[in-house]
Amino acid sequence: MKKLIELKNITKSFDEQIILDDFNLYINENEFITLVGPSGCGKTTLLRIIGGFENTDEGHVVFDNQDITKLAPNDRQINTVFQKYALFPHLNVYDNIAFGLRLKKRDEQEINELVKWSLKLVNLSNYEQRDIDRLSGGQQQRVAIARAIVNKPKVLLLDEPLGALDLKLRQNMQYELKELQKKLHITFVFVTHDQEEALSMSDTVVVMNNGQIQQIGTPEDIYNEPKNRFVANFIGESNIIPGKYLGNKLVEFENAIFECVDTNFKENELCDVVIRPEDFDVVNLENAKIKGIVTDKVFKGVHYELCLDVNNKEYIIHTYEDAQIGSTIGLNVDAFEIHLMKVNSLENA
């Protein structure tokens, strides 16, 4: 795969506050990459630096082997779908989408075809003459996407584009965006604070916090093998339990010994054990290695979410079977569901 964008040693601060701290990242051609993190982690600033709307204090942005750090946004082959769409209210749908093409002095015939093509891609055919303020949020979203892709950019930047949509619509749009990206062979750089969105859409997920990359990898890697407490907590729900690696793929926690798959620990090294709520098996008490008292339960539709008190620590587990509050239940965990993290890994969660 070819590197399309390289961010080298990017540093940026506002009013003495460091937003991005010596940030390095490369983005491949045709990749769907998602920057995810809590608000204030620097993800939007990073996107704005790629788009050219913010200068860097230090570092370089390289696009297609050319340094574009100082290039104005209008000279970059990059288009943006803005957070609140930023459609021009004085223009109708057609003129909004044709805005970029007209600046490039394409002839009207070609513009007409391209506008129709892009509207069809976002399932809004026959909306050409609509006023912007007569569109729903979801439709405005589609127009914003059409307005960007009609210019056939090499990179499309998307700044929390689905944030304002309701759940059902958001899920549909996630799917459609993914399809669009596959069809158009455009690199998508997607910014979101929604970890679920990040996991379900991306080829690559970049988890950010405090202006630094916490972990970068495929959605599966990020979810199954979080590198540190922050990632484990931020991406999905986790139970993080202090434990000790005994060597020989054995780990001890909650006064019991479990088999595991991790090996990169020394004998008797302390570690953090990460277990996802859905990875616990509820078993009868005789076979259980961990026992807990149910303190709370919430019905979530597909499963129950139980809060357990295990040796005065709170566990969250997902199970298909109901349990009474106050009752004691037994748990077990399979070896491949246990993930071990180094204790000294960053604790900025």
Binding site: G52, F53, T80, K84, F88, H90, K104, A148
Partner: protein
């Protein structure tokens, strides 16, 4: 959403007492003949309409409209760049100081400011020290300068407000789609500040067209504007009937202009 329910009737009462009833009274007076301020022998008459046929009145209307329209356009040409520059100032304190600089003169009496111009426009003025001798009194230019200097803030503020509340993301979107600064101004900033331009034009044109003190001081009796005529009919010759007719026609002209501007406003393009 409860406040409008209280405000709206109050506003309506206000409008009826101070606008609607006086307007009806003026229409009534325009069709009446009285003996000066003696209303005891008031009777229906079209005599005012005969009088208005005199070309002197047509000229007064024309003068008023041309001069105040020129002043409005001049205010726009001067005021728009100023508003744009002010809105670009990032430092709040500096921006407020500049805004106050444009408000401050409005605290002094308009008449004093006009008389200041009047002195400067005479051949013998303090400007002689600089070797400059102006002889502008009685020229249209003097009146236009007077109007522009008096009403410029009314142009700057609505435009400034319109530009200021413009969503920064729209400007970024324009750059993003490949527009340079000039294209962004022409295709995004200017069209979206049109409402400010329209209200600026209204707020300069209306008082300019109806002002009587300003032309009286600066025209040297050379140029008669409608405001002067209405003023002298009400204040000097006490011909309320004719004064009312002049006012009603002026109000009608202004009303039609406003409808035109509001209509254009909704379309959101052109006029300028």
């Amino acid at each position: 959403m409860k406040t409008p329910n209280i405000i709206l009737p109050l506003y309506l009462i206000w409008l009826i007492i101070l606008v609607f009833i006086p307007f009806l009274l003026m229409i009534f007076l325009a069709f009446s003949h009285t003996n000066g301020l003696d209303f005891s022998h008031i009777r229906f008459s079209l005599i005012n309409f005969k009088e208005i046929a005199d070309p002197i009145y047509f000229n007064a209307y024309l003068n008023s409209i041309i001069l105040s329209a020129s002043a409005s356009l001049l205010c726009l040409l001067i005021g728009y760049p100023i508003a744009l520059i002010i809105s670009k100032i990032k430092k709040n304190s500096l921006r407020n100081i500049i805004l106050i600089m444009f408000i401050l003169p409005m605290w002094s009496n308009m008449l004093i400011r006009i008389m200041g111009w009047e002195i400067l426009f005479n051949p013998n003025s303090i400007l002689n020290v600089l070797g400059i001798s102006l002889d502008l009194i009685g020229s249209p230019l003097a009146i236009i300068i007077g109007m522009v200097s008096t009403y410029l803030p009314f142009m700057i503020f609505p435009i400034y407000t319109a530009i200021n509340k413009l969503d920064q993301a729209l400007i970024e979107a324009s750059y993003d789609l490949g527009a340079n600064k000039r294209q962004t101004f022409r295709k995004v900033i200017l069209p979206l500040s049109l409402p400010g331009i329209y209200s600026g034009l209204t707020m300069v044109f209306l008082p300019s067209a109806t002002n009587f003190a300003l032309p009286e001081r600066l025209s040297g009796g050379n140029i008669v504007l409608l405001g002067n005529l209405i003023n002298s009919n009400f204040g000097k010759t006490f011909n309320y009937g004719f004064g009312s007719l002049l006012s009603v026609i002026l109000i009608t002209i202004i009303f039609i202009t406003m409808i035109f501007i509001n209509h254009k406003d909704k379309d959101g393009d052109l006029l300028i």
